[in-house]
Subunit: 365 residues, 2 copies
Amino acid sequence: MAYVKIPYTKMKDFSHAVFSKFGFTEEESAIITDVLLTSDLYGIESHGVQRMVLYYKTIKNGRIHMDSHWEIVHETPLSAVIDNHFGVGQLVGHFAMTKAIEKAKEHGIGMISVRNSNHYGIAGYYAKMACDEGLIGISTTNSEAIMVPTYGRLAMLGSNPIAIAMPAEPYDFFFDASTTVVTRGKVEVYNKKGEPLPEGWTLNAQGLPSTDAPDILKNINEKRGGGILPLGGATEQYGGHKGYGYGMVAEIFASILSQGLTSNHTHIGATGGTCHSFIAINPNLFGDPEAIKAHFSTFLEELRQSPKAEGQTRIYTHGEKEVEASQRILAEGIPVNENTLREMKEICADLGVDMAHFLGEFDIL
Amino acid sequence: MAYVKIPYTKMKDFSHAVFSKFGFTEEESAIITDVLLTSDLYGIESHGVQRMVLYYKTIKNGRIHMDSHWEIVHETPLSAVIDNHFGVGQLVGHFAMTKAIEKAKEHGIGMISVRNSNHYGIAGYYAKMACDEGLIGISTTNSEAIMVPTYGRLAMLGSNPIAIAMPAEPYDFFFDASTTVVTRGKVEVYNKKGEPLPEGWTLNAQGLPSTDAPDILKNINEKRGGGILPLGGATEQYGGHKGYGYGMVAEIFASILSQGLTSNHTHIGATGGTCHSFIAINPNLFGDPEAIKAHFSTFLEELRQSPKAEGQTRIYTHGEKEVEASQRILAEGIPVNENTLREMKEICADLGVDMAHFLGEFDIL
């Protein structure tokens, strides 16, 4: 598939214009654009600006309610529960983590759970918001059911990522990972390439091992059974019950504490209903934040400098790859594939946005 | 290897007598005994009463300081850092989680990190303490370096378990798992049986895949390189970087926030230095605890009732196996292998404890 590279600032202005046309305010369009483009900068194309096409569809089909606004339904000095009333995920996410940060700065900890929301982009964006303020940031979300619990054959949990970020030098610690062995995005890449999946990623509708990407994706979409395995795989021998356990942890903080929809009840018909959690912890609860940061940085450097396996040249600490990807993509542009470009052009025609004005003309279209 | 089964109450009285002879008070011996026997009831022999032999050795060789007492070095209404001054792990663990529970009952959350400690038994014991009080309990610990980071060949993190427990009906949610693909205890079982390890569990001193249990254990003990892989295995294809990430999370809450020794610096010479964390969260921060518990119990029941993979009859929720194991072991007795019995007999001779008085005579000795 052909890719073009689009400069970050051009894509930012374009995304802003598109989301404004959807009906979002200037400030709202800026937040949504920042969440999506941060994913592109980190090299996570599946959660980046290409999502504008999906958002367009889910606004049109009524899954994202444009006329609703979130409501704080429970609040204490350390916590809150927010009902997003099926609004877009990024805006409530940005609001909720901002609130968690305020609580953590004032009281030491802020914990916010959100229900009745929609896809909010990468969990790590919100963890990083807290980290940028000198705090430990944590975010989890549930999502459309895609993870089959150990010994099951129906997807009952989402990809349920857990993200945690903490200040360190020269790179902040930044860990953001689905609790499935891989994301649906990776399965889709194999599907597009027409290649069999690696063994141990997915189960078919009978709950048996499968490498058939088209069949898996069809079954997930039609909720016919099967799906992606938890981190650790199909059995307890390699710890599949542990990945399933981490998926449960994401669910507890997102959908259980907010009394929202668990993954298996989201994305039924036109209803999304995703739930999220946002936690900020002030390291000053434990002592001098600078001393803690220095202590952590020393350990991270020891990890990077520790002996490599034969044939390997680097040990990464979490967050290093994202920093390097950002530098590269800011310099080279954001890679966008031709299908996405074509879909963007379609929605621009629909919305009355002059795509060429923002991005120029493309030979491949 | 031959096993005998010893009634729970007999073993409890025996353990209490042995730890009293080590020099612990009545109350201290009761706490340590309860932590160890809870592990046995859950079917985790490696962390159960057989550990008394190891504790005897580490008290004698000076790793556990019998004459020290913990010290609170930092405290806020929501948090504390405790220096255990190389005392035994279970006692500071019980104290710290008790303090976290008090803080959570009064303020909503309690977070305690502990440095300069020793092995504290199963992480889940402390998570369960909070759960038994109607709270969400979390505990993590670091441990002797045994996990090789992705693309490395030297163990830099411990088995670093994360445990979380939360009230539910009819079973509390109870998840307690090492962030390695398996524990050292599982490798030791293959070593004792003289069988090759499953592929994908361990690396040799060159950082290459190995199934040679005796070589792996020797390398770990002598810190020659190699060790156990993170959950997810050796490469990123199956998410090894995720297991390594969860190991880092355990490390952050235990050794980083307490400014204690990271796993790679513990267990050098006669120094232990393990670090732990204890977190209690009051669900009333998010609404009515009974409503939250009911919501969670519904999801857990949906998981258990969801369709099974072909050839499977049950889907477990985390904590169910521990409840069933406890019922069985309380009825049938705690299985103890002949080697452990022999070692217990030796330390009893040394300490002047009449083992036969507590446990009776054994044909196999």
